[in-house]
Each structure stands twice: as C-alpha cells, then as structure tokens.
C-alpha cells in the first residue's frame, strides 16, 4: 500500500489490492506489463528485496496452503493455467517481520519500499 502511494505520487499508475487471487487476476487482465509488490517472509533479513519473474513457474506457488494463501503466487499460476497471464509479470517481495495489527513498517522496510519504487520508476523511464 505504501509502495502504491509512493508510485502514484510519482505519476505511475498503481492499484492497491489486498492480495486475494481473483482480485489480482481481475486487475491485471489484459495488461501486458505488471509489477506486483508484496510483503513476504522467507527468513531473510528485514527489508531484503526479492524479485521473481513469472516467466517461469513460481516455486512453492501451489495452492497447498490455506484459503488465505490464494495470493499472488496462486494468482500467477492460475492465470498461467487459464492463459491469462500478462506478457511480463514481476513480483517484488519486501521482507517483513512485524505484522501485528497497527504496527508500523520498520526503517529497513521503508528503505526497501523506496528502493523498489525507484527501480520501478527507472523501468518506466
């Protein structure tokens, strides 16, 4: 959400989505080039930035998780199976640590958000 707000402030189109698979698939339907930004937990250092290219099947993106787990990974693979995956789709995952209700992003996460926004802005030229 913070990243989307920063992108919008730079005049770059962004949509805020709660990450549910069907909503994501609807938002990116018919769009050729998509960037998804999401908080992730991989065990890496807080604020680490991961990038996944959906050109190849995403590891661990199956729907073996919970119904809450019908998120970006499942949306990508379901789109691929249905033939509706954008021509280019990248996922930027920002490593988070605190997810309690009402908690603020840490300085490391805020820094990572700025880094990701900067990268996307430079891609747009």
């Amino acid at each position: 959400m913070l990243a989307a707000e920063r992108l919008l402030a730079r005049g770059i189109h962004a949509e805020i989505c709660l990450g549910e698979a069907s909503e994501l698939m609807e938002i990116w339907a018919g769009v050729d080039d998509v960037v998804v930004i999401d908080a992730v937990v991989t065990g890496a250092e807080t604020g680490a930035v991961h990038v996944w290219d959906a050109g190849s099947p995403l590891a661990h993106a199956t729907v073996s998780g919970s119904t809450h787990g019908f998120g970006p990974g499942e949306a990508v693979e379901l789109s691929r199976a249905l033939g509706t995956l954008p021509l280019r789709l990248r996922i930027y995952g920002i490593e988070g640590k605190r997810f309690e209700l009402g908690s603020e992003p840490s300085p490391a996460v805020r820094k990572a958000i700025e880094e990701v926004v900067g990268r996307i802005a430079s891609l747009r030229g």
Binding site: L18, S22, E23, E26
Partner: protein, 432 residues
C-alpha cells in the same frame, strides 16, 4: 513407520484447508487404533485481545480472525453485544445483514466447492492442475467468487476484513441504486449456482454414511443466517444464552484448537449438512427443487456429499440476495445509538462452515471484560476424528499412499478453517 500387520497414515501438512493442521492415524491390522487431527497453527489469542477494548471495536477486531469468513465474526459479535445491551435494530438493517452474509456465503462456498474440493473428485492435486483441463469450471468459480466479494465490498466497504459493520447497524448503508447495480451479476450467479448443483450431483461419492447429531440454527420463517434457536435432530432446542450449559470446550494435547462436545454426549456436526437437514423446508423453492433434482433428500449423512449441499446453499444465497435487493429501502439512519452499560450477551450465527458462538461481558464503561468465541471448525474437530476412525478402517486394505490421500480428502469435506479454530495436512497413518 510401518511394522508387520499395522501401518501409519501421516499427512504432515493438510493441503487445501485453511490454516495449518496435520492428521495422524494409527492402524492395528484392520482396526483404527488412534486418530488425531493435529492443529499446530499457533493459538491466536483473540479472546484476550478483546479484553479492555470498547464493545464498538469488537466487529473490527474479530473480523481479523479470518480472511474468508470475517462477516460471520462481525455478525456474531454485533448480535451478542446487541442482545446484551437490548438494542433493537432497524428492519432494513436486519435485511442488509442477511444480504451481507449472502455475499460471504457466495464467495466462501464458491471457493470451497470449486477450488478446494472439486480437485479431489476430478483427480487433480490442486485447482491449478485442474484449470488446465477444466478451464470453464475454474473461470465460473472465479466469477462466482468475484460476485460474492463485490457484494461484500458494496456493503462492507472492502472485500477482506470489511469495515462497515457496527454495533447497532452499519457505519454506512448503500443506496438502492448501488444494490440494483448488482442484480445482473447475481442473476448470472444464480444460474451458475444451479449449474453447480447439477454438476456436483454427477460426481462419484464414496459410500460412507454416519449417524450424526446435526446442530444448526432454526428460524420460524427463514433459512438461518443471523437468527434462530439452536436445534439438533436429537431434540436440542435452546436459545444462544444456554449454549455453554449444553456444550463444552476441551483441550486435547495434540491440538492448539479446543474441541467442542455436547455435554454428556460427545461429537456433533455443524455446517451445510446440518443446516440443510434441519432447515430444508426453509429453503426457497428454487433451491429445494434443484436439491431434489440432484437426488438430495434430508437427512444427507454422507460428508462427501457436502459439495452438493454447499452448491444448494450457493443457490439459496444468490436467490436470497436477489429477494432482499428487490425489497430493500434504506433505513432512516445507518445505525442506532448504543449506550454503555454493564451486561452480558450471547449470540450464534451461521458462518459458511457452521454455527459460530460469541459471548461478551461488558462493564459500565462499555469495555469488554471477557469474551468467548467458539468457531465452527472447533466444533467439528471431534466429529472429523470420529469420522476418520470409521473411514480409515474402510481403507485398511488400500496401499498406504492412496489411503493417505483419501483420508486427507475426507478432512476437506468439512471445509475446516483452522485459523479460526485457533483464535486454531500433515497426515500420519501408522500401521502396526
């Protein structure tokens, strides 16, 4: 670990269920020696979070218990608090709450029928694999879910963890035009739901029936959502205020989620089968008719046929949503004022997965002193174990890998929401 004459069925992480759970079954020859539905999702302490908070915060806090059934938590919370404080809501608000719940039932049932349960019946590991061969089915499911989500968003402000539900009503109520905009989608959804029943009825079901005590709400006139007495097919007929007199939560070593039993009796079953069997006559004619066409006649005692019953409830939810929209007139105010006073109240509403009980004790400043929340999946846990004890015995001669897969599928019949159960598949079958 297998020895001569016995075996262990083990699923370390149950797939296609909400939350984290595991299954352990120990076989001694043809006999099931032990069954444990292990919920290892960490306890989520929501009853503790609510203490000291003002009652007006309960809908927003409890909604976070679950991402797929937040409205159920909000409805049980507001009804319990309103009963405690003797609040009378506007009839239009009552209708809107039913409509709100219809949205949740549509998106939850569509998700489970097509994306979680159907792969089992069609022989796929998951819906992604299934989509490659059954594109039209998956696209229908996604559109149904989207329609349910949209209805929730119009009434609740957003699709996940809606923000509009309030004690006394809603923070904001929709104009008639906003609801009328949903009609064409809901009409499509109703037709799609009817097709879903007819399709689900063609699936192959294991021959497995149990004698259940079905427990659900029953209302004098309606298929139950927010209101009714709590009844069973074995004579239970109580108000929500008597729930804790008749039901008991117990802690078992192998689960972070408490299990519920009927005092003096044991396990029971809540959810679509219970509602359908206890309220068939309350379904609208379109739902009763298609259920009968599909060969469903109460009592339905085969848990695998829950997929067909959920599809019938999809028909109900779409039909009910259209009925409400046709008669809806906005209330004079979105909510009534609610004053602080010391009181205790209980309520039960029908989450997609079954009855959800809330109790709140509030002090003179409106602060919650204690809260108790009993989700449907907690209530079904012991019944799931009891069913698996019988079902696994039928699979004694099957190869271990196939038996394990079958047992994991059996758990999915109940659409367990393990995150809810721990406010709550790894299947291990040991043979010896």
């Amino acid at each position: 670990m297998n020895g001569r004459g016995g075996r262990t069925i083990k699923v370390d992480t149950l797939a296609r269920v909400e939350g984290e759970g595991a299954l352990y079954i120990k076989m001694a020859g043809d006999r099931v020696a032990d069954v444990k539905l292990k919920v290892y999702e960490p306890p989520r302490m929501f009853e503790a979070f609510l203490r000291g908070r003002h009652f007006s915060e309960a809908p927003d806090i409890t909604a976070r218990i679950c991402g797929i059934c937040p409205i159920a938590y909000q409805m049980s919370a507001v009804h319990a608090i309103e009963r405690a404080l003797d609040v009378k809501i506007d009839p239009a608000v009552r209708l809107l709450r039913r409509l709100f719940y219809c949205g949740e039932w549509i998106e939850s049932h569509a998700l489970h029928v097509y994306m979680l349960h159907a792969p089992d019946f069609l022989g796929y590991a998951d819906v992604i694999e299934m989509a490659q061969d059954h594109r039209a089915i998956v696209e229908k499911a996604l559109r149904l879910k989207k329609i349910g989500n949209h209805l929730v968003q119009v009434l609740g402000g957003r699709e996940i963890h809606p923000i509009s539900a309030a004690v006394g009503g809603f923070h904001k109520t929709p104009a008639q035009a906003q609801l009328h905009d949903l009609v064409s989608d809901l009409e499509w959804a109703l037709e799609a739901s009817l097709e879903t029943v007819r399709w689900a009825a063609t699936l192959q079901f294991p021959k497995f029936e149990q004698e259940y005590e079905f427990v659900a709400l029953r209302h004098p006139e309606e298929y139950p959502l927010n209101e009714g007495r709590l009844v069973s097919n074995h004579g239970l007929d109580i108000d929500a205020s008597e729930y804790e007199d008749r039901f008991l939560e117990v802690h078992v070593k192998h689960s972070n989620a408490l299990q519920s039993i009927l005092r003096g009796k044991g396990s029971y079953l809540v959810g679509p089968l219970a509602r359908f069997n206890l309220n068939f006559d309350r379904l609208p004619e379109v739902a009763r008719k298609v259920a009968t066409e599909a060969g469903l006649k109460p009592p339905v005692k085969n848990p695998f046929k829950s997929i067909v019953v959920r599809a019938v409830e999809l028909v109900f939810a779409c039909a009910e949503a259209l009925r409400i929209i046709a008669v809806y007139e906005p209330p004079s105010a979105p909510r009534v004022p609610v004053a602080n006073r010391a009181a205790t109240g209980q309520a039960i509403t029908e989450a997609p997965r079954g009855i959800l009980y809330h109790r709140y004790s509030i002090d003179e400043n409106g602060l919650i002193r204690t809260a108790k929340i009993v989700p449907p999946t907690s209530q079904n846990q012991k019944r799931i174990e009891d069913d698996l004890r019988e079902y696994a015995a039928q699979l004694a001669a099957w190869p271990l890998e196939e038996a394990t897969w079958k047992c994991e599928q059996a758990v999915r019949c109940y659409d367990p929401c393990i995150s809810c159960a721990t406010h709550f598949l790894k299947v291990v079958i040991e043979r010896e």
